[in-house]
C-alpha cells in the first residue's frame, strides 16, 4: 500500500503543470469554480488546444487517438487541470458516445467521428430521455423505421443538453417491438441539420440555456448511421458503466476548484473581520473540504482499482452520489459567503455587481440538477442496493 507518485509520475505532473501554468483566463475562473460550463466557443478553443498537445482524449486508448494514459496519469492530469482552474472537457462526445463508437462502431464510423470528437469539430448531444422515459429509460417510444436504405425517425427527446450547439446527436430509438422492453432498441447517429429535426429550448431556473427538447418528424438517416447491431442499442450502454466511474472520478477531482471559490468569497470582511476568520464559518468550510477530501480518497481507490482492472462494484455510483451532494452543499456555502449581494443577480443599469455574480447564484441553481441527471440520487441508491447489498 502506498500513496506516493513514482519518479515518472512526478515528471509527468511537472509537464502537465507547465502546460496549464498561467493559461487560464481570469474571467473563466468563477464560472469554472461554480461548476458551470463555459461558453461553447471557449470550450471548443480549449479542447483544440488540448488536442494540439496530443491530450484531447485523456481516457481513450492510443489507437483511437487518445493519450493511452493509465489511471494514475489521468488522476494527475485532472488534478493539475483542477488546480489551474481549467474547465472540465465537454463529456458527451469524449466520454459517452466516443467509447461506444470505438468499441462497437464500424471502421468508417471510427475513422470519421473519432478524430472530429478529439478536435471538437463535432459537438455531440445525447438523445436518450423522453417525456415519458426519464429514470425508466426502457419505456422510450421514439421509433426508427427501416425504409429502403434509410431509417426514418419519429418521436420526441427531452433534456437534450447542448442540442442547440451540437452538430450530432446519438439517439436511442425503437427499431422493433419485443416483449422485453430493453430489446428492439437501437443506437443511431443523427446529424442535427437533418430535415425534420427541430430543437426547442427548455427554460430552466438558472436562466442559462443548456437543455432542450428535440422533435423528430420523419427524420431520414442512412442505414450506415446505425452503431453496432440493430436492436442491441440498450446493451451498448454497458460499456459506459465501467467508464462512468472515471467520469465520476473526474467530476470529484474538480470539486477542489469549488473549495477555492468558497474560500475566496469568504475573504469578505464584516466589521473588519474576514468571514473565514469566524469560527462558525471556518468550521463549515472545513467540514465541506473534509468531505471533499474523503471523496478524493474514494476516487484514488477507484483509480487504483481501474489500474488493476478490478471491479469497482457500484463505487462509481457512490462517487456520483457524494459528488452531487457536495456540489449542492458547496454552492450554498459560497452564496452564504457572498451575503446580501447574492440578491444582485443582474445589473439593471449596467453597473458592476459583486465579482462572483451572477455565476455563483447560477451555479447554486444549476447544482440542483446534478442530483437528478445521469441517474438521480434515488436511482443511484437503487443501483447500489441491487449491486452491492444483496437486498
Amino acid at each position: 500500500m502506498n500513496l506516493d507518485f513514482d519518479k515518472a509520475d512526478l515528471a509527468f505532473r511537472d509537464e502537465v503543470r507547465e502546460f496549464f501554468a498561467g493559461s487560464i483566463p481570469e474571467e473563466w475562473k468563477t464560472r469554472v469554480r461554480a461548476g458551470l460550463r463555459l461558453d461553447p466557443a471557449d470550450l471548443i478553443a480549449y479542447q483544440k488546444r488540448l488536442a494540439a498537445r496530443g491530450w484531447g482524449a485523456p481516457t481513450w486508448p492510443k489507437e483511437f487517438g487518445g493519450t493511452g494514459w493509465n489511471p494514475t496519469q489521468q488522476f494527475i492530469f485532472w488534478s493539475e487541470a483542477a488546480r489551474a482552474d481549467a474547465p472540465m472537457q465537454f463529456h458527451q462526445g469524449l466520454e459517452l458516445i466516443g467509447p461506444i463508437i470505438y468499441t462497437y462502431g464500424s471502421p468508417e464510423q471510427k475513422a470519421h467521428y473519432l478524430p472530429r470528437i478529439i478536435q471538437s469539430d463535432d459537438w455531440w448531444c445525447q438523445g436518450y430521455s423522453e417525456p415519458g422515459a426519464g429514470s425508466d429509460l426502457a419505456s422510450l417510444r421514439t421509433r426508427a423505421e427501416r425504409v429502403g436504405d434509410h431509417y426514418v425517425l419519429n418521436g420526441q427527446k427531452t433534456w437534450t443538453s447542448y442540442a442547440h450547439v451540437a452538430q450530432q446527436m446519438f439517439v436511442l430509438a425503437r427499431t422493433s417491438a419485443e416483449t422485453r422492453r430493453q430489446d428492439g432498441i437501437s443506437l443511431l447517429l443523427v446529424p442535427m441539420d437533418a430535415q425534420g429535426l427541430r430543437v426547442r429550448p427548455i427554460a430552466t431556473m438558472d436562466e442559462k440555456h443548456h437543455t432542450n427538447e428535440v422533435f423528430l418528424d420523419d427524420v431520414r438517416i442512412p442505414l450506415g448511421n446505425l452503431v453496432g447491431e440493430e436492436g442491441r442499442g440498450w446493451t451498448y450502454g454497458k460499456v459506459l458503466l465501467d467508464r462512468e466511474r472515471m467520469v465520476a472520478a473526474c467530476n470529484a477531482i474538480f470539486l477542489t476548484q469549488m473549495a477555492r471559490g468558497i474560500r475566496r468569497a469568504a475573504e469578505r470582511k464584516l466589521g473588519g473581520v474576514a468571514l473565514i476568520d469566524r469560527p462558525i464559518v471556518a468550521a463549515k468550510i472545513a467540514q465541506f473540504e473534509i468531505e471533499v477530501q474523503a471523496l478524493q480518497a474514494m476516487v484514488l481507490r477507484l483509480m487504483d482499482e481501474a489500474a488493476r482492472g478490478a471491479d469497482s462494484g457500484p463505487r462509481g455510483s457512490m462517487v456520483k452520489l457524494r459528488w452531487s451532494q457536495l456540489m449542492q452543499s458547496g454552492m450554498s456555502l459560497w452564496l452564504g459567503a457572498i451575503g446580501p449581494e447574492a440578491a444582485h443577480f443582474e445589473a439593471l443599469d449596467g453597473g458592476p455587481g459583486h465579482f462572483d455574480m451572477p455565476y455563483a447564484l447560477q451555479g447554486a441553481l444549476y447544482s440542483r440538477v446534478t442530483t437528478i441527471y445521469g441517474g438521480s440520487s434515488e436511482i443511484q441508491h437503487n443501483i447500489i442496493a441491487r449491486r452491492a447489498l444483496g437486498i
Partner: protein, 379 residues
C-alpha cells in the same frame, strides 16, 4: 499509488477477525467484562502470544517494525468483532511515545511486547480538553531525579496500566509548545493516586493525581510535544482502522437482518426506504475506509500534511461511525438496543471513539489550521 493490503497484511487482518469471532462473543464479553478482572488479562496474554503487541515496535528495540499499514490491517481486524483490549494504547501509542527513550524505555517496551505488563499515557489535563500542549503538571529536578506534581484528567486505557508515560512541564508556561517533557512513572510510585473507570465500551481508563511522584525522563528535555503529537496521530489512525472494521461489521449485520427479518409477510429488506438507508450506511463505510487509508499513508509525511490528513480522517470517520452504528441500531428495531446483539456494542464503541484523542469538532479546527498554514506556504 496502491490501496491494497499485501498478503501478509491480509493474513494479519483475517487472524484478528478470527480471534475476535472465536473469543470475544457477546456472551463472553457481557458475562466477563467489567466484573471478572482475570478475563481481560487472559485475553491480553493471548494477544501477546500472537506477536501483535510487538508489531509496531521498531526492530532495533526488539519489535517487528511494522508499518502504519500493517497496524491498520490488524486494528481493522480487531474492530470487526470489537476486541475490547487496550491494544492501540499499549502497542501503538506508548511505543511511539518511547521512540527516543533509549534504555529508559526498554524495560517497559519488553514487558508490553511480552504481555507481562501494560502501559498508558497521561497527556491531557483538567480543563484543557484534548490539548496536549496545555500542560500544568510540573517536573522538578532535585538531586539528579525528577518529581512530578499535577493531575491528568483522562488516561485512555489506563485502568490496568503498570506504567504511565506522563507529560510534564520542565520549562515555559502552561500553554507553551516548548518546555514539555515526557516521563515514565510506575503505577506503585509514591505520591501517585490512580482512580479507575469503566467505559460503556468496556475499556478501562484512569485519572491521575500526582504529588512529588518520582519519574524518569524518556524524551528530549523540553522538546517532547512533536513526539507526543506524532504518537497520538499514530494512535488515532489505529483507532480509525478499528472504527472502520467495526462500522463495516455493523453494516453487514444490518444487511443480514434486512434479508432475514420478516414483517408484513416479507423480508423488511424489500422496503425501499430501508434499502436506501442501508445504502447510505455502505457509502459512509466506503468514505471512512478510503480516508483512513489516506491518513494512514500520510503518517510519515511532513507535519502539516500529516495533521491535515489525520484530522480530516478523524472527523469523517467519527461522523461515519456514529451515523452507521446509530442506523444499525435503528434498522434492527427493538433488538438493536439490547445487550445480546453486538450491534449495540458497536454503537457504544463508536460513541467512545469519538471522544478518544479529540472530538470531531476539535479536529475540524486542527484541520482548518493546518489547511491555512499549507495555503500560506503555497502562496
Amino acid at each position: 499509488m496502491d490501496f491494497v493490503y499485501s498478503d501478509e497484511q491480509q493474513m494479519l487482518r483475517d487472524a484478528a477477525i478470527r480471534y475476535g469471532g472465536d473469543t470475544w462473543s457477546v456472551t463472553a464479553r457481557t458475562s466477563n467484562l467489567g466484573t471478572n478482572e482475570q478475563w481481560p488479562r487472559q485475553r491480553w496474554a493471548e494477544m501477546a502470544e500472537m506477536g501483535w503487541l510487538m508489531l509496531a515496535v521498531p526492530e532495533a528495540r526488539g519489535g517487528l517494525g511494522g508499518s502504519p499499514a500493517d497496524v491498520m490491517a490488524l486494528a481493522e481486524g480487531l474492530g470487526r468483532n470489537l476486541v475490547a483490549s487496550p491494544f492501540v494504547t499499549n502497542a501503538v501509542l506508548v511505543p511511539a511515545l518511547l521512540a527516543d527513550a533509549g534504555e529508559a524505555g526498554d524495560e517497559v517496551l519488553a514487558a508490553i511486547m511480552a504481555g507481562t505488563a501494560q502501559a498508558a499515557a497521561g497527556l491531557i489535563e483538567p480543563d484543557a480538553g484534548y490539548n496536549a500542549a496545555s500542560v500544568a503538571t510540573v517536573a522538578t529536578l532535585a538531586d539528579g531525579a525528577y518529581r512530578l506534581t499535577g493531575a491528568k484528567a483522562h488516561v485512555e486505557d489506563g485502568g490496568d496500566a503498570d506504567w504511565f508515560v506522563v507529560s510534564a512541564r520542565t520549562g515555559g508556561s502552561a500553554a507553551d509548545r516548548e518546555g514539555i517533557s515526557l516521563f515514565l512513572v510506575a503505577r506503585d510510585a509514591p505520591g501517585l493516586t490512580v482512580e479507575r473507570f469503566r467505559s460503556v465500551d468496556q475499556h478501562r481508563h484512569a485519572r491521575l493525581a500526582l504529588t512529588d511522584v518520582p519519574a524518569t525522563l524518556v524524551a528530549p528535555l523540553d522538546q517532547a510535544l512533536p513526539t507526543i503529537e506524532a504518537a497520538v496521530d499514530r494512535a488515532i489512525c489505529a483507532h480509525l482502522a478499528e472504527a472502520v472494521g467495526s462500522m463495516e461489521a455493523a453494516t453487514d449485520a444490518t444487511l443480514e437482518y434486512l434479508r432475514t427479518r420478516q414483517q408484513f409477510g416479507v423480508p423488511i429488506g424489500s422496503f425501499q426506504v430501508l434499502q436506501h438507508r442501508a445504502v447510505d450506511m455502505t457509502v459512509f463505510c466506503e468514505e471512512a475506509r478510503s480516508i483512513t487509508y489516506w491518513a494512514t499513508l500520510s503518517l510519515d509525511h511532513p507535519r502539516l500534511e500529516r495533521r491535515r490528513a489525520v484530522s480530516a480522517a478523524k472527523v469523517r470517520v467519527g461522523q461515519a461511525g456514529l451515523h452507521v452504528t446509530r442506523d444499525a441500531v435503528q434498522l434492527h428495531g427493538g433488538i438493536g438496543v439490547c445487550e445480546e446483539l453486538l450491534v449495540s456494542h458497536h454503537l457504544r464503541r463508536q460513541m467512545m471513539l469519538e471522544f478518544t484523542h479529540g472530538t470531531s469538532d476539535m479536529h475540524i479546527g486542527l484541520f482548518e489550521a493546518a489547511n491555512r498554514a499549507l495555503l500560506g506556504q503555497a502562496a
